[in-house]
Symmetry: C2
Subunit: 354 residues, 2 copies
DNA sequence: GATCCAGTCTGAATCGATACAGAGAGGTGC
DNA sequence: GCACCTCTCTGTATCGATTCAGACTGGATC
C-alpha cells in the first residue's frame, strides 16, 4: 500500500488537515512544522497528494481536453493539426495546464462515453463536422469549450476561433478566375457522409457535410458566380480522407475527358499536394498545365510552390486555449476571427490556350 | 448544481448502487430498469458518472502521461518527436486510453509538482537527460513507466525502447571515415549543461550530459579511432537547442580557420539541416564541399538529400505505449532495441583534394 | 415442502484528499 | 486586567462515485 496523507499525519502526530496544508497552503502553518511534515513524507515515500482525490475535492482537474473528430493518430500526421496543437500547448504551458488528447472510438456510443469520461476542465474542439453530439455531451457536463469550426447554430455566447472561410475561399477563387479559368473542379474531403471518391453531384453547397467545407465551397462558388460560372458548371470532387493519397485517388481520371478542368481548387493543402502528385504521375506529366490551389499554407506548401490561403495555425490553437483558460469578460470577445492571406505561388497560372 | 448519481437514484426510486451498475455493469440489473434509469438520467441532464470520482474509487484513470523534458510546445515543432507521438497515439487509440501531455515548468520544484499532480496510470518518458528526478517522482508514485533514453543505471526490470545508439553512430561515422574524412566536427545539442555555443573542449565522451549524446559521440569516436583519429583530434561543437538556427549559430566560424573540418556529424537531422543552412549562407556557398550527416531520418532529410541514420520513430512511440499499456509477462521483453539503417544520400562525399 | 440457485437490488464502507468553522495559545493596546 | 487579534492547528463534513457482502424473490429440483 502506498502511504496516504493520513499516514504522514500519523507519523508526525498532526491532523490530516495540517499535512494537506503543508502541501497546498504553506501559509497556514509554521515553516518549522511544514519542514517536519515534508521530511516525514520523504521518509515514508509519500509522493504528495493523490491527484485524483485532490481533483474530486477541489472540483477541478488542471487539464484541458483536445478533441479531434478524426482519428487522433491521424491528427499528428496533418501538419495543420500539428501546428494547431503547438499553439494550444504554448498556451497550456503558460497556464501550467496539461493537455488531454482523447481518442474517439469509431462507434458513436463509445465516442460519447469517451467524452463523458475525460477528466478535464474544458475542451478545445478542433473540428466538428456533424459531430454536434460531442458539444452536446460537453454542455451536459457543464464544461466550457472553444470550437474552431464554424457552426450554423452557434449561440452568441459560444466561444469560437476561426477565419472567415467564405471570404478567404472567395479570394483565392477570384485569383483563379482572374487567370481566366472557367472549367474548374473543387476538391474536398468527405463532402457527403457516404459518397464515393471522385466527381459528385451536389444540388447546392448547402448539402455539404462539414461546415468548413460548406464555407469554402460557398466562397469558391461566389467568385465564379461573379464571372458567370454557375454552380452547376463547377465539378465537385469528393476525397475519402484528407491525405495526398486520397486526393490523388479522387482526381484519377478527372483529366481524361474531352473538356478537362483547367484548375483544381482544393479544400486543404494536403489535398492540393495530392493533386500535384497525381498530375506528376500522368504520362506526359502535367501537360497542358493545370492550376492547383490549396488552403492553410502548411510548411510543405512553400516547397511545392503551391498557391494557397494562409491562415495562422498556431495562433488558432493558442487563442483557442487562451479563450478556454481565461475567458474574456466580454462575451463578444469570445468570438475571434483571424486574418487570412492569399499566397500566390507557381502552382497557378493563366489558362493554357489549346 | 449538476445532478449527481444520487439524484438519478432518487428520481427513479432505486439505490445509488443500481444507478452505478446501470452505467458500469449492465449485466447486474434488468434491461427494463436500466432503460428507466438511463431515461431518467437523460431527463435530468445527468452526464454520466463523474470521471474524477470514478477514478478515485476505481484506482485508475484511463490515461497515460507523456513527458518531454524539453518544452512541450517545442516538441510539436520537432518532426521526430511528432512521429513518436503519432506512434504513442496509435497505441493509445487501440487501448481506448487518453494521452496526457504534461508541460514541465522551468523551475525544478515546479516541474516535480507537475509530475506528482498528473492524473495518469503511467508515463512514457520521451527523453531523460539528467532528469533522473522525473523518474524518481514516478517511481515514488508507484506508477509504471517506459523510457526511451538509454540510462546507465537502468534496472533490469525497467521498461525501455530505443536503439543501439553507439552502434548506429559508429556505422554512419564509418561511412564518413571511409570517404577519407579525417578533420571532423561532431555537433550535438546541450553537450554540457551550461556550455556556450560553438567548439568545446571535452576531455572524454563520458563528460557529455545526455546519455543519448554520450552514446552517439562514443559511436562516432569508435569509428574514427579505428582509422587512427583520436578523440583529441575531433572537434566537438555545442548547439544551444535542437534547432536549425541553433545549429547554424553553433557552426558559425567553424570553417574559417586554416584547416577547417571536411565533415560534420550531427546528433540529429534538425541540427544537420542547420549546418547545411549555414554552409549555404557562406559567401561562395559550400565550396569546398563539406560532408554533413544527421540522425533520425525525419521527412525533411530526404528532401535535403541528407545522409543519416534511420530509426523507426513511430514504432518507438507505439512500442513504448504498448509496453506501458500491456506489459509483457517476461521482464526481458520489456527492453526493446529497434533496428536502424544507414541512409546514404548526397550530403556526404569524398574529401575534396585541395 | 424443503433446498438450492440464479437473477435483482440494497446499504454500508471506502477511495484520498480539501474546506471551513472554530479552538487554544500567546501577544498587544489601553 | 480585559478585550481583541493573530497565528497555528484540529475535527468534521464533503466531493461523487464503486464495491462487495448480503437480502429478497420466484422458480426449478428432488
Amino acid at each position: 500500500m502506498k502511504p496516504t496523507l493520513q499516514a504522514v499525519a500519523d507519523a508526525v502526530g498532526v491532523s490530516r488537515s495540517t499535512v494537506s496544508n503543508a502541501y497546498s497552503r504553506p501559509d497556514q502553518l509554521s515553516a518549522a512544522l511544514r519542514e517536519r511534515i515534508l521530511d516525514a513524507a520523504r521518509q515514508l515515500g509519500y509522493p504528495g497528494p493523490n491527484p485524483t482525490a485532490r481533483s474530486l475535492r477541489r472540483g477541478f482537474v488542471g487539464s484541458i481536453g483536445v478533441l479531434f473528430t478524426s482519428q487522433l493518430s491521424y491528427a499528428f500526421t496533418d501538419p495543420f493539426a500539428v501546428r494547431f496543437l503547438t499553439g494550444v500547448s504554448a498556451a497550456a504551458e503558460r497556464h501550467g495546464t496539461s493537455m488531454l488528447l482523447v481518442p474517439l472510438p469509431p462507434a458513436q456510443t463509445d465516442a460519447r462515453r469517451a467524452v463523458e469520461n475525460a477528466a478535464v476542465d474544458g475542451f478545445c474542439v478542433y473540428c466538428v463536422a456533424d459531430e454536434e453530439w460531442a458539444l452536446d455531451v460537453i454542455r451536459a457536463r457543464g464544461l466550457p469549450y472553444v470550437s474552431t469550426a464554424p457552426r450554423d447554430d452557434a449561440g452568441a455566447d459560444e466561444r469560437y476561433v476561426g477565419i472567415d472561410e467564405r471570404a478567404a475561399a472567395r479570394g483565392i477563387a477570384a485569383h483563379v478566375a482572374g487567370l481566366g479559368h472557367r472549367r474548374v473542379a473543387l476538391l474536398a474531403d468527405a463532402v457527403l457522409p457516404d459518397a464515393p471518391a471522385g466527381p459528385l453531384t451536389l444540388d447546392g453547397v448547402h448539402e455539404a457535410w462539414h461546415p468548413t467545407t460548406r464555407g469554402r465551397l460557398t466562397g469558391f462558388a461566389d467568385a465564379f458566380g461573379e464571372v458567370g460560372v454557375d454552380w452547376a458548371d463547377l465539378t465537385v470532387v469528393n476525397a475519402l480522407g484528407n491525405s495526398r493519397q486520397a486526393a490523388a485517388a479522387a482526381v484519377a481520371g478527372l483529366f481524361d475527358g474531352p473538356a478537362p478542368p483547367t484548375a483544381v481548387l482544393a479544400g486543404s493543402d494536403v489535398l492540393a499536394l495530392g493533386v500535384l502528385d497525381a498530375l506528376a504521375q500522368r504520362p506526359g506529366g502535367a501537360n497542358p498545365p493545370v492550376s492547383v490551389t490549396g488552403f492553410d499554407d502548411i510548411p510543405e506548401a512553400a516547397a511545392a510552390g503551391l498557391t494557397t490561403v494562409r491562415q495562422p495555425a498556431e495562433d488558432k490553437g493558442r487563442i483557442a486555449a487562451e479563450l478556454l483558460l481565461d475567458p474574456p469578460a466580454d462575451a463578444a470577445a469570445g468570438h475571434v476571427l483571424l486574418p487570412t492571406a492569399l499566397v500566390v505561388r507557381a502552382s497557378t497560372g493563366p489558362v493554357p490556350r489549346s
